[in-house]
């Protein structure tokens, strides 16, 4: 089959999932071509990006051939039939090494798939491989696996901890990916790489078979090229019992929205390019008819401290045994953060848990007056390296994402603009509990308003990197 000429001459691996579904149904493209296109780009360019820990080239092509034969027999197939995806390497894949980005798990081969992978495969997804991440998703690169570089600027990080997943989608290695998010680890790299990242409502997507970082903060979600694609992935990966629940009064268009901007999230920690881009975004949304208004929720500023008081001991609780027996195998800063978690008082942990109940109540009150909340996703564009979680810059990096790990509310980052150095900046939308699909439909409309949909880094960046 020959790929049709679409609106661009981009390789098939840069097409949206929606577009590929259409091409499959009309038999204008095949899974072998699409998976082949992804693998060809990985072979050519991943040496400069380091998005993948394991690439399942033979398995993926075998499955693509089987899916192609199925499609020839009938085009009535599940939603992700023949769609290639990447899976963050802290999410179990049966029979396939799952390292969590650490030498401690370098030879770990799970017996079965994580529930979320099982759900995606049941809908026909083809797993291309396992994507790079910060060690145990805990804010530090382990030298054994190395930094995942940003496809927009190879001298910068793709962000963390779902670095490989965001970079893989941005670089056209995969149509979508799975990530995990404990303080911003889907949204921060998605923002840095110019793609969509959704942290769903807590527990909407199963964590079974996902190596825990902090069980009460961990979320699993999609990274995709468009909000519509993220919606397709979420529908396929979530538990069948988790139905979407739009807000009580759910405007369908941006023009009817009441949007709150938290004053506490507009601090002077935000770099100028982000500040200007956010002001332009607010202007564009107002021009589309939405009512955008500043609000203040003073408790939000204490999210930084509450996150640390919960994250540190919960993470250490998981690693306690290895911390005593294999401490030398961790990256130095991962080890320090785990040691720090052992020193947190139970009273501090419980105070933080009480705080999150208060924060949730404060935000719930805000959603009586607003349909959604909006902020820059991160205070800056991609830096050279990922700051450690326990560093002050790590705290600032998570400042606008972590409140929604504490409260479990759904939050999505959408590309907002190209900032200083032509690297992407993200805008974050937050909705009420279980409003995920509605939130993605609003994100999709924002993409249309701001015209940043489907932008990807120029291949010249990668070609120049590879030039002798």
């Amino acid at each position: 089959m020959t790929a049709p000429k679409m609106e661009s001459e981009a390789p098939l691996s840069f097409y949206s999932i929606r577009a590929i579904q259409h091409l499959y149904r009309s038999r204008q493209a095949s899974p072998v071509e699409v998976v082949g296109s992804c693998l060809a780009r990985i072979r050519s360019y991943d040496q400069w990006i380091n998005a993948w820990i394991t690439v399942l080239e033979d398995d993926a092509m075998d499955l693509a051939r089987r899916h192609e034969a199925d499609l020839m027999a009938s085009s009535d197939r599940p939603s992700l039939h023949g769609i290639p995806i990447g899976v963050k390497d802290n999410i179990d894949t049966g029979g396939i090494r799952t390292t969590a980005g650490s030498p401690i798990r370098a030879n770990h081969i799970p017996k079965v798939d994580a529930r979320v992978v099982e759900n995606l495969k049941a809908k026909g997804a083809i797993v291309l491989g396992k994507t790079n991440l910060l060690e145990f998703a805990y804010g530090v690169v382990h030298p054994t696996f190395g930094q995942c570089n940003n496809p927009w600027d190879l001298t910068r990080t793709a962000g963390g901890s779902s670095s490989g997943s965001a970079a893989a989608v941005a670089a056209g290695f995969s149509l979508g990916c799975l990530g995990t998010d404990t303080g911003g680890s889907i949204r921060i790299p998605a923002s840095y790489c110019g793609v969509i990242g959704l942290k769903p409502t807590y527990d909407r997507v199963s964590r079974h078979g996902v190596f825990p970082l902090a069980w009460s903060l961990d979320h699993v979600g999609p990274i995709a090229r468009t909000a519509d694609d993220a919606s397709i992935l979420l529908e396929a990966m979530q538990e069948p019992t988790k139905e979407s629940r739009p807000p009580l009064v759910s405007p369908t268009g941006v023009s009817a929205l009441r949007i709150g901007v938290l004053r506490e999230q507009l601090g002077d920690d935000i770099e100028l390019d982000v500040q200007l881009a956010f002001e332009r975004a607010v202007g564009a949304i107002r021009e589309a008819g939405a009512a955008v208004r500043e609000i203040s929720i003073p408790s939000v500023i204490h999210s930084d401290e509450a996150l640390m008081a919960i994250l540190l001991p919960e993470a250490t609780s998981t690693h306690e045994r290895w911390l005593r027996s294999r401490a030398n195998e961790y990256a130095t800063m991962t080890r320090s953060q785990l040691e720090l978690g052992a020193l947190v008082l139970a009273t501090d942990y419980l105070r933080a848990q009480r705080f999150r109940a208060r924060l949730r109540a404060d935000l719930s009150r805000a959603f009586r007056d607003f349909d959604l909340l909006m902020s820059p996703t991160v205070a800056w564009g991609a830096p050279k390296e990922d700051p450690a979680i326990a560093d002050s810059s790590g705290t600032i990096e998570m400042r606008r994402s972590a409140p929604y790990n504490l409260t479990g509310l759904p939050a999505v980052t959408v590309p907002m603009a190209l900032g200083e150095g032509s690297v992407p900046l993200g805008i974050q939308f937050v909705g009420p509990w279980m409003s995920d699909q509605w939130l993605l439909s609003i994100a999709s409309q924002y993409e249309s308003i701001c015209g940043l949909i489907d932008q990807h880094p120029p291949d010249s960046i990668l070609s120049e990197a590879g030039a002798p």
Binding site: D203, S216, H302, A306, S336, D348, R354, F355, G408
Partner: protein, 65 residues
């Protein structure tokens, strides 16, 4: 509450090493200074969190609707 009640600034590296040992963790001398700095930052943050009135709220073990 006064932050000094947590004795954040006075907490010596040696005391932090003892605390770690009591948790079953032996911190090598060359890394102790870094861990102690992280611990002081954390305790300063914990002291700030003490300023927030959470008396009316029960600990939330995980987010829920």
């Amino acid at each position: 509450m006064n932050m000094n009640t947590r004795h954040v600034k006075e907490l010596s590296d040696q005391v932090i090493a003892e605390l770690a040992r009591s948790a079953g963790i032996d911190v090598p001398g060359d890394r102790l200074k870094d861990l102690a700095a992280l611990m002081r930052d954390f305790l300063a943050g914990a002291a700030r969190l003490e300023q927030v009135d959470v008396a009316d709220y029960e600990p939330l073990p995980a987010p829920r609707s």
